[in-house]
Symmetry: D2
Subunit: 361 residues, 4 copies
């Protein structure tokens, strides 16, 4: 039996589906099993900068009903403002880390659960080390680019939204004999594009880990036509815009707006190279705000319970992780040290190539 | 008892959800009730230009199973090529209407069911009058801009896809305190934007029938903030790009690509006027290719049955229509004479205003 | 400009999708346009029986965000307890109508919006006439059996859930060559079964308005087999259990549990008559609790706005209604006087027969 | 480079979502990478019993378009008929294994891919050993009860359908203050019920691996009420009917129909024990026929590609498996030797208990 505790929880960085399910699980475990208090910080670490600290007490009723099913985060979040170099109104950067630590003290917290990705964890860890905060991390990122966990909260849902879009683009592509380009999210890694492209029946998938050429894409589309099918589905990870795609690409990078995004750029180039009619869809934030998939809710629930248990056991500076059907924990430092982009010889790349999907190379 | 007939069916213009359900209903009625033959022309009137004519015989097995549930059209369609001024490879325009009429004769058709919108009906009617074709029309258009029918096939599904996007944008807008802009389809009419905006909980809806100003939009967003809510949902009909929105808009119209579409343009202007973070989603063709909604399938089925009955009764040059829970028919000429844009004092505009939604004026 | 008012709103009878969207629309219109106060009664008229009256004030924040997208009713509802003959704990029935009227006075209401079906409206009207309540009705019923309105809130969603189930039963029926029976809701009318069956590709639809025989069903299934398709989809309205289906049916009615419901009974009888493997799904309350469809939200919004306007105009004892793409109002008395079951020669029956669907007769 | 081969593929046992995606992946890999021929047997091993063998050639066009998105199996399947003891028309059992083996020879197959569960694999292995068939297995089962693979095709979709039902039952349960019972599939294992219950926010989950008592369930529902929430969600795995639940349960097992299924039985008993209004939904085969989830399609694709590669490598008598984000293979014998029911101290049971969910014990 552990002593009564008061723990804080915050969501940090870009939002995604499943955050509310994490929050609910943390509250259920902390209150029902341990009899602790839980407080939720408003808008990530921003909540700690207010005086009094901006937070809300989280009891069972607060997290009841439909809350676990809703996208977004009831606590709010932001991806602005590193407290060690906080952008002030006058344009200067200021170290406000002591204010965060002071806020943690003001609330009398025994521990803090941070739900975030690698960027958030790096900052939270620095704060924890400086101020002696008892930190436990829960991984969330639609990009699934966090090392040491098979999956992070939000990824499965984002893939699902992208697959659904491909399901809808296929019939209209077929009816009009068009090449449909779908631009999906992915800051630096191509996981969403790759998984969604395989599951959604794409012919071409462009990810930032693999250098593409327009010639290779065009060759695939012509090969598809040769089999008697006059349409194609192309998935483009937005991160592809960072690739050096040669002359035209440099032009793109010099004036993104001129093309209305990397998807539109790829669409234009395919039209030029193949003569195909192309149309472009940019899913944007519908990939973040959707109702969490069952799997995201399940993982979120398992993570939330386990994170509270880590606090009960006094195990800090650790991140919960999913590995081989189990919830484990790993040092946060290790998790963020290894960026998990798509491996060129990994199982999904192999599956994609095995299906005859072109990766643009 | 009518004599055995052979009837043709074609889908024309932009595709939408529910076309396959129409085709299935026509085949069921024609084969099961009347014992007729049905042939489907490939890619609208294009099929008639081939020799031999490009078509496929449609029997019960062809239209069985999941076919009615699928988006798109198994017959293919196109929105290129007025046969009275057909664009030839050498760049000239040629009157190929006699070839179409000849194709109809070659197939020995007793009647032709055309599934289309106002543009397609205008051409099909001209062909029918010139060549003595027995034409029956079935209205389909995601824009719902056809007069004399309450609803056309494809509209309900398109609205549903847009509403679902708003459902997904709301939580992420709230989590990050952003203004989310959703650009939806609508060639000249704002029906999709208006219905989706109301059903999806939008704060601002811009449609081509109502002149907007950025100032008015900004005022609404500031009013929402004053109630303590720091996010907003904005729906923009793509047809809004035709409005004369003053100086900045003229700049947009001179270089659409510079802004990456009207949604992105509106997003930029809102950011400027309110300081809000904005994000833009462009749904594009997912609004066309989605699985048809139950209502679209129901209307498609009722239309298909009734169209065949009109042929049995020898009533041609007519379009089936939905009116007050009944399927009726009206002269095609009357249907296309009245363009059904959003009425400024109609029930949905009144509902939108009643809910406090800004229409930008 | 009308004087400030305080209006009440309650949901009565079985819940359905769209109730929250009605409540939101009422609050938006009343607060934003007229500056009135709105209070929501708890659990229909039950709220008026408590002292103090059980209610909650409804302001813009209460109805914000995702609330319009959620099934159910935030006010709660019940289909127990006619206040004119209220079942007391001791087993007696008591006239508690004066308590309801007293509750209305205690709250100082200027008017009351009742969201209900025919049963609720009959009681609310009696209360209004006895106590001088200013009543406006908004029609909701998944059964769509209210006269004088084309559609009631909740129907479209219920149909959608049933259609989705048929979409899912079709592939497994085909894979195993089975007859799948889907039992859907419908207290006395077959609207859900009929619409869902048409839109979901059913082969047989049984509704309470049309007397079926097992022989006729079996004949249809054998006819389908003769075309080479060895599976079938059968939709059964739960209200079919009230039909006199002959000897076996009498046995069913004497011991419903023995068959586990009318769907299971029909499944057994089909298996006996055709030798087919049959499987049964009973959807139950998923038809009520689903997220409201776009159309239900649109109708709910239009109804809510219009109902408040009726109060502003002093038009009471009326129900809002949907007619020919407009929102109108009709006397409540007229609406409940005409029970809208499926018409044997109506457009949907005609469509079903036109598609070759058996109605069991 | 391997020599040209001709391989067979069949689906066996109960159908589920994702089978078509497996078939498509096998064809893509075999044709595009190796240039082999693929033939699909009709209705599992039944196809081999016909003379000529009942099969269809599978080329790229056959598996194109929407096919991977559809539930069921285009090849058909059955869970009747062990060929070593085949039920004949005269009621006797006959060993027809030589006919199967003969059919394999007649088709000139180099290898056979069997998509099945443990029952099917046991039979297929016996056939392979007797007749020298080159067998590769791909695991599918909505029950996820196959050992040595983290997941089988069909499970994720089945869980998703059950979760969606809970999402829909929650609002109506809350509106009417009811206890909603959802009966889900699960022949001998409780995986679907457990995962769906956690992800769907259930209060009670009954699985065959854990002995429940009505008293314990009732205690949980009363505890929920004590927190001010007057409704609850209960998930019951159909396999629970095999548990010895004491006196009343024996009565149930003696006359299942009297209760209309285990879900209805549990609902009755909860009503008795708590006085709550209960309602029951029996999802049935909608859990099998749904469109496959993105994850099921991804796993199906990876499995299909890898299975073909095993054939190319001459590795037979093995089953592909998912393990720690990789596709591996294991001896079929090992996979079926270990039945994977829910482990009483596994991560999901721990998560459920951590959330305060009652498992009825």
């Amino acid at each position: 039996m552990t002593a009564k505790k008061r723990i804080g929880i915050l969501t940090s960085g870009g939002d995604c589906a499943g955050l509310n399910a994490v929050i609910r699980a943390v509250v259920h475990r902390a209150v029902l099993t341990y009899g602790w208090q839980v407080v939720g910080l408003k808008e990530g670490t921003q909540g700690f900068l207010h005086r009094p600290v901006a937070y809300q007490a989280l009891d069972l009723r607060m997290v009841d009903g439909n809350m676990m099913r809703m996208g977004g985060t009831i606590l709010g979040t932001t991806n602005r403002g590193d407290p060690f170099a906080y952008p002030m109104a006058d344009g200067t950067l200021k170290d406000r880390s002591d204010e965060i630590i002071g806020g943690y003290r003001e609330l009398g917290l025994d521990a803090l659960i941070g739900i975030g990705g690698d960027g958030s964890f790096a900052i939270l860890r620095k704060l924890a080390q400086k101020g002696g905060l008892n930190l436990v991390g829960i991984p969330k990122t639609i990009d699934n680019d966090l090392g040491l966990t098979e999956v992070s909260v939000g990824y499965d849902t984002a893939v699902g939204v992208a697959v659904e879009a491909l399901d809808r683009l296929q019939p209209t592509a077929a009816s009009h004999q068009r090449v449909m380009v779908l631009e999906v999210m992915g800051r630096d890694a191509g996981h969403i594009a790759l998984a969604a492209g395989i599951a959604g029946g794409a012919d071409v998938i462009l990810i930032p880990e693999i250098q593409y050429t327009i010639e290779s894409i065009a060759a695939k589309i012509k090969q598809v036509r040769a089999t008697g099918r006059n349409f194609a589905l192309v998935v483009v990870s937005e991160a592809v815009k960072t690739l050096d795609g040669g002359g035209a690409m440099k032009e793109y990078q010099g004036g993104e707006k001129r093309y209305g995004g990397i998807g539109a750029y790829i669409g234009d180039k395919i039209a030029e190279a193949t003569g195909a009619e192309t149309r472009v869809t940019v899913l944007g934030h519908v990939q973040r705000g959707s109702m969490p998939s069952p799997r995201d809710r399940l993982i979120a629930s398992a993570f939330g319970v386990h994170a509270v248990d880590l606090i009960a056991e006094g195990q800090f500076d650790r991140m919960v992780a999913w590995s081989n059907r189990e919830v484990i924990s790993v040092p946060i430092a290790d998790a963020i040290a290894r960026y998990a982009c798509v491996e060129a010889d990994g199982p999904l790349v192999k599956t994609a190539r095995g299906l005859g999907i072109s990766l643009g190379d």
